[in-house]
């Protein structure tokens, strides 16, 4: 009964989305206020219906209803409740429902926080989001129904993939989707602007907070995915340039470029058409990612069970949505006026150079991801493009971008002078260079790459300090605290986000440069020393989990004779799918992670064991978190808070018409 209610809720949501996708947009085109006012209630109604459908599916999981095909395929009676609920998004159909659910959350958020927008704009934005959701709900109802019944019902389910039975599974997909799907708001803003013809700096100002929030979520989502792979997969890696990982990273790169481009458009009205195009790109990449993961076109550890029929539906949907947007862009963008001019050496110039580099990096990742497909389609053979390619190509493109990160915030708008910038930055450059060259030598190992990484990170920090000091020197206020308080939050946000990047770079550089690994055979009582820590193996015991049996090893770790921690790596066999999994033991720390992974039991009662000492690895994800916090700080800036509090602007019709003709 409950699954049927969920199913009907989806059908109703489809009807509402059709209404939402048509009437308000038409109303905005002809100026009919009544039709436009349909948008808000329709968006909220759709949210409630999707929420109902989502809860019904959750209920089916909680209730262990194996007469629902999807529940039977991804759950099991032995699975603990929190994983049963996380299994909602454990496979294709349910994750689509999550996609639409999160889209409806963003829709309802836009419906609430858009009082400062002109009615036509809001109508178009919600309308576009309604059209997107219509496509996904239709997809679900036709070829990917999560509520499909299994008759006769299964006695028990096939269980959730053991790799997914983990806290990371509970948070990573929702975070990722909040980001991914959140770019639909920036997309809707862009399309609304193109449809309405009002493409000016205010559009960028409205669009910025939405884009930044989505970007924050995506940053956390991607970082979580990486962290999860690190501790779950058992071999200590954290990024593999796998097609699905790239599918989430490319929207992030586009989103980062978009945030910076919107800054130019907002402040100086320049590059409006480019910002719109980038917003379309960002969401297109989200949709492309959705396609790649579910169509079977690329091989990946993360891919859902693939079906070319589903792939075809998504491809057609993609073609219509993105193709339509790009045609609209080609039609309307030429009429967009130019903003203020600026020279190549200026803050705008550097921001746009940042965009060029980010888009080149993005293009390279896309090229590498799709290239095997290109060659195969042209019958030119099968190749693999993996980490060696991406690492070789990505770092040289990002390095100049990071270098610019130090100069850009200090450059003046419109026109800056290179010699003047060089003077202001010379001690920052000197400090970065010297420290970066000296530090690895002090730590015992010097390679050019380590120095480059350190130099980039220290460069960001020192130039941020220079920028802050200059800003404080020019601020009003007598005391230091007063002047610090006068610095707007947006600036702190930028500083924090950039320093987050520095932390990330330090993490990556130190781990890649100084990580130590040992592959050993350990008998009970034997010890091994790595990175200054001594590990003693105390043997294994059998341990029974809720749906698995494990051999749990005990490792006592000491440093300089003092015991530091005890670590319990496991080798689990899950009962239902009979899959063996390695659960590594990690001792996290601010300056290092200790990582122990059990291999196989060997003949004489010994075990093959892998030990790692990974310095600074948590700075990788810590840096990403700091980036996201920076983003949040930036949106909490005064001007946005004031904008939200302001009531809906009552613009006389004449002015509105005037705005539409001036382009």
């Amino acid at each position: 009964m409950i699954p049927e209610i969920g199913h009907y809720a989806l059908i109703l949501a489809l009807c509402v989305s059709v209404v939402l996708g048509s009437l308000p947009i038409y109303g905005a085109a002809v100026g009919n206020s009544m039709l436009m006012s349909v948008a808000k209630p329709a968006a909220r109604g759709q949210f409630l219906l999707i929420l109902l459908a989502f809860c019904c599916l959750g209920y089916a999981f909680a209730d262990k209803d194996f007469s629902v095909l999807y529940v039977a395929a991804t759950s099991n009676s032995q699975l603990p409740l929190h994983y049963r609920l996380a299994a909602i998004w454990g496979a294709h159909e349910g994750s689509l429902l999550l996609w639409v659910f999160i889209l409806s959350i963003w829709m309802v958020a836009v419906s609430f926080f858009s009082t400062h927008l002109p009615e036509a704009m809001r109508a178009r934005i919600l309308g576009v989001m309604g059209l997107v959701s219509m496509g996904f709900i239709l997809f679900m109802l036709t070829v990917s129904n999560p509520f499909e019944r299994l008759i006769p019902a299964a006695l028990d389910g096939r269980d959730l993939n053991p790799l997914l039975q983990d806290p990371g599974m509970v948070i990573h997909p929702p975070m990722l989707y909040m980001g991914y799907v959140g770019f639909s708001v920036a997309f809707a803003f862009a399309i609304a602007a193109l449809l309405g013809g009002t493409l000016d700096a205010t559009w960028a100002r409205w669009s910025r907070p939405w884009t930044t929030v989505a970007w924050c979520f995506l940053t956390v989502g991607v970082a979580m995915g990486s962290g999860w792979a690190y501790y779950e997969l058992g071999w200590g890696g954290w990024w593999f340039w796998d097609p699905v990982e790239n599918a989430s990273f490319m929207p992030w790169l586009a989103g980062t470029a978009l945030i910076h481009s919107l800054a130019v458009t907002d402040k100086r009205g320049g590059f409006k058409a480019w910002s719109v195009l980038l917003a379309i790109f960002a969401f297109s990449l989200s949709l492309l990612g959705t396609f790649l993961v579910r169509s079977g076109v690329l091989t990946s550890v993360h891919a859902f069970a693939t079906d070319p029929k589903r792939g075809l539906f998504i491809l057609v949907f993609l073609a219509v949505v993105i193709g339509g947007s790009l045609i609209l862009y080609a039609w309307r963008a030429p009429r967009v006026g130019l903003g203020g001019g600026f020279s190549m050496v200026s803050r705008e110039g550097m921001l746009m150079a940042n965009n060029v580099l980010l888009v080149a990096a993005l293009g390279s990742v896309l090229l590498g991801t799709l290239y095997p497909l290109f060659l195969d389609a042209l019958d030119l053979g099968k190749i693999s493009v993996g980490p060696p390619y991406f690492d070789t190509v990505f770092v040289p493109l990002m390095t100049p971008a990071i270098f610019l990160m130090g100069i850009g915030p200090l450059a003046q708008w419109k026109k800056a002078s290179l010699p003047e910038l060089a003077t202001r930055l010379r001690w920052a450059f000197g400090v970065s260079l010297v420290t970066a060259l000296a530090l690895p030598l002090a730590m015992g190992q010097w390679t050019p790459l380590i120095s480059l990484g350190l130099m980039m990170a220290i460069w960001i920090v020192t130039t941020s300090a220079v920028g802050l000091r200059e800003r404080l020197a020019h601020a009003d206020g007598s005391s230091l605290l007063g002047r610090l308080a006068a610095v707007p939050r947006a600036y702190w946000g930028m500083l924090l986000a950039h320093c987050g990047v520095a932390l990330f770079i330090i993490g990556v550089t130190m781990v890649k440069g100084f990580e130590v690994e040992q592959d050993l055979r350990m008998n009970v009582g034997e010890t091994a020393t790595i990175g200054g820590y001594t590990f003693q193996f105390d043997g294994t015991q059998q341990y029974k989990g809720p749906n698995y049996i494990a051999a749990r090893g005990t490792f006592r770790v000491s440093q300089d004779g003092r015991e530091v921690t005890v670590m319990y790596p496991e080798k689990r066999r899950y009962n239902v799918q009979n899959q063996t999994m390695t659960e590594a033991a990690i001792s996290p720390g601010l300056l290092r992670d200790l990582y122990v992974s059990l291999g196989e039991p060997l003949d004489d009662g010994a075990w093959s064991v892998r030990l790692y000492h990974k310095p600074f690895i948590d700075w990788i994800w810590g840096g990403c978190l700091v980036m996201a916090v920076g983003g949040v700080l930036a949106i909490s800036d005064r001007r946005y808070r004031l904008a939200w509090r302001r009531k809906e602007v009552d613009v006389p019709a004449a002015t509105q018409m005037a705005r539409q003709t001036v382009s």
């Binding site: 130019l338 110039g349 888009v359 090229l367 590498g368 190509v393």
Partner: protein, 153 residues
């Protein structure tokens, strides 16, 4: 008899915790295997390196590579051996061929194209934005507005 007991009890105390031995018989060769294996693809897995995979074929291939290292074959020879049998698919670092030129040059071309587009866009913009000279009337108006503003402060 008591001294015998004392000695027997002391013996465990004399045993020092033994240092674990490396898993591989030849750590140097193993390190070379690892360096090669992270660039090779496990053919039966869903995108994993030869180093990380537990699949039977991956173990067989690691064994083959180990034997080739023991026979003093160079890295290039080992890679050629595998490519001869499995094709370029087994390499994670695509070889430079006519068909992969676009792949390896692509990023660089994208950068050049982007930079060119930016420079051209800026030039086009400069041409369109001509600074308009103010007329006498407008100049007076500007002076008036500026003085009004100064009075208000």
């Amino acid at each position: 008899m008591r001294w015998l007991l004392a000695v027997i009890l002391l013996i465990p105390g004399l045993a020092v915790a033994e240092e674990a031995k490396p898993l591989a018989d030849n750590p140097v060769a193993e390190a070379r295997l690892k360096a090669l294996a992270v660039e090779l693809r496990c053919l039966v897995c869903q995108n994993q390196t030869l180093a990380d995979s537990n699949a039977p074929l991956a173990e067989d291939l690691r064994r083959e590579v180990r034997e080739m290292i023991a026979k003093d074959m160079s890295d290039q020879e080992i890679i050629d051996f595998l490519v001869e049998r499995y094709g370029d698919f087994v390499l994670y670092r695509p070889r430079w061929k006519v068909s992969t030129t676009l792949l390896w040059l692509g990023p660089f071309l994208l950068l050049i194209a982007g930079a060119t587009a930016l420079v051209l866009a800026l030039r086009r913009r400069q041409k369109k934005l001509v600074d308009v000279a103010l007329s006498e009337e407008e100049r007076t108006r500007v002076a008036q507005l500026l003085s009004e503003g100064a009075n208000r402060l």
